[in-house]
Subunit: 415 residues, 2 copies
Amino acid sequence: MFNKNYLLPLDALKLIINSIPEGYLSIERLKIEECYGYIIASDVIAPEDLPAFSRSTVDGYALNSRDTFGVKESSPSYIAVKHEIFMGSVPDFKLGTGESAKIPTGGMLPEGADAVLMLEHAQIVSDDMIEVMRSVAPNENVIQKGEDIKKGETVLTKGHRLRAQDIGALAGLGITEIDVFRKPVVSIISTGDEIVPAGSPLKLGQVRDINSFTLSGLISEHGGIPVKKGIFKDDYDVIKDAMEGALQDSDMVLISGGTSAGTKDMTAQIIDDIAKIYGGSGVLFHGVSLKPGKPMIGGVVNNKPILGLPGHPAATVVCFDLFIRPVMERLGGLNSRRNFTKTIKAKMDKNIASAAGREDHIRVYLEEKNGELSAIPVLGKSGLITTLVRADGIVVIPQNKLGLDAGEEVVVKLF
Amino acid sequence: MFNKNYLLPLDALKLIINSIPEGYLSIERLKIEECYGYIIASDVIAPEDLPAFSRSTVDGYALNSRDTFGVKESSPSYIAVKHEIFMGSVPDFKLGTGESAKIPTGGMLPEGADAVLMLEHAQIVSDDMIEVMRSVAPNENVIQKGEDIKKGETVLTKGHRLRAQDIGALAGLGITEIDVFRKPVVSIISTGDEIVPAGSPLKLGQVRDINSFTLSGLISEHGGIPVKKGIFKDDYDVIKDAMEGALQDSDMVLISGGTSAGTKDMTAQIIDDIAKIYGGSGVLFHGVSLKPGKPMIGGVVNNKPILGLPGHPAATVVCFDLFIRPVMERLGGLNSRRNFTKTIKAKMDKNIASAAGREDHIRVYLEEKNGELSAIPVLGKSGLITTLVRADGIVVIPQNKLGLDAGEEVVVKLF
């Protein structure tokens, strides 16, 4: 059934990726608290040192490490406690030889001090004297001025997707606004003469729109803005109009469904026809060596990717991960260096066969069995949405493998 | 330095979990398109069959499988093509013996048909006759009425966090609103006499608030609503007032920082003191066998968890994962059966030592080396936010292990 000329998913994806400009989305300046999940549009350079002064990391005594050199339990040193340092203020004194100052965690080191002795390591002799029974290394228990980030250092690089701790680092540097790529707007055109909205009563022969809900969720989750364009009849003019409209006001167009006879060819025809009007390579592939997801179509018009998705719910989710997510990331200028797929290892619970020459994506659910994680295949046609609802993730059988054996260790891509 | 009486993180967490009611949050009814990431508050029962009729999964010919029994290439069968079925409409005929109807993918099977022969397997003899050279099994290429979901079946169970495909399944069943637990409101109280807001100019001795930005992002990402209460002075009355206020209008209270001398004890004291007023067990643990994160405090007042977090940025992120996330999930009634940590396997790049008796959480960044993923420790004090910015995830060294060897396979918990 698989056409030998069909490309593997990754090769098909490359055709699209190579036909669209990287980091093509415009840049906007946002407050950092709005930037979680956004992609940075330019390198961020530290405007100042972090911290701006040398701080203690413990509660203890700020001192000069030289005053403790060679000190041990049998020959302790006695150091005067001359001052106390308070949080958030600048010590207005300088330590002399043999002198120390009480310092709280986070407190600023006074002049003349280069280390902190932990409270627990000091024996209090009197109100103004401690006994030290071990030597303290220079910089011990100190974060030096600029040790976290040095002024002028590149803190975050263009193309990085901002995580919670990255926003924290920006706050720490006093950077309250930054340039990010705006989120890609992804249009979803649902097609099929039998499809009705989720809220409509069903006539016999009709089914409700499932895929636009699934796709919207996945697009938002991966940093895009989904726009549901509605449900359209399987008609050349109707779908061509919808596609042209979507190309105007979004960065990427998805056409879901079109499962009735001849419609697949019609979608491809429309992509080629509008490429003649607006420019672009038109259809780049039509069909891939993939199950589920074989009828996938990919093309580019006016620098914008257009992806035709099979109507089957399971194929929709698999094709999102293989095509839509990477294309969204390319549009948004994501630097893929740090873009790791979230996986978990498990043991296959059953033998699973696969045809040679195609990539099989098996839905599995996970269960602890005898202290080990088992991946249990969720069997059922790719048209069944419940195969996805029951599943926790996907196991990929590559094109050169004829299946998986029970007990074999597999990597599960988690939803 | 580690107190032998300190609990391991998981044991400390259990003390909190066992002191707060499960699924304690109130229930709200939302449109399904608003429910991505929410936790379902009651089982969802299918109000109807999905699909509501038997459908073809391919383009082909609907027929009665009995008419093809025993058929092979050497003795084909000839079947009349009497009708054509259109998408979204009900066939108004019944197939007789030896009869078929042209059917598109998704089309409704007519009475008298129990299977579909794929277009590619039929030889067209004339406009109204096909030659069949292989037998077709009953239900071949058919999704039967109710095969995806049967009316009355439990589709999703209480406590499940809704993913994109789950919302799709609800849409498919015509369920447009459901009951979910509202998101937990989590207050963040930042303390420290040296802390100033991110937007303020710095005086020497001061540092900017980093942790409330990191915590807000992590709380949102994990299905909560963060509320920044502001930055408060290290003063008993000030912090007690802030804590009482936060207890009134949120489901969980975080106190970040309080790193100055004596403040850790003060936070614990305040938790115990307000437990006397509002009820609850007060402080449940103060200090855990964990690095970074040793000074962690946990307590419960008026059924609401209060967590005192160390001021160090790296400790904040580690303690979020070990304490705050699981407590949020407990409040929200998450069923942990399907709650898998997202990980990736890698090889340690260097030896790393760890003290016995405590759990070490090592920040690592990941890099491909000779086709393998290497986990490279990000060294540096836990007070450095950049150790988190450079890292891709965390490797845990359990309390009974004295370190990790270079080349050892490790599981990296991805951020």
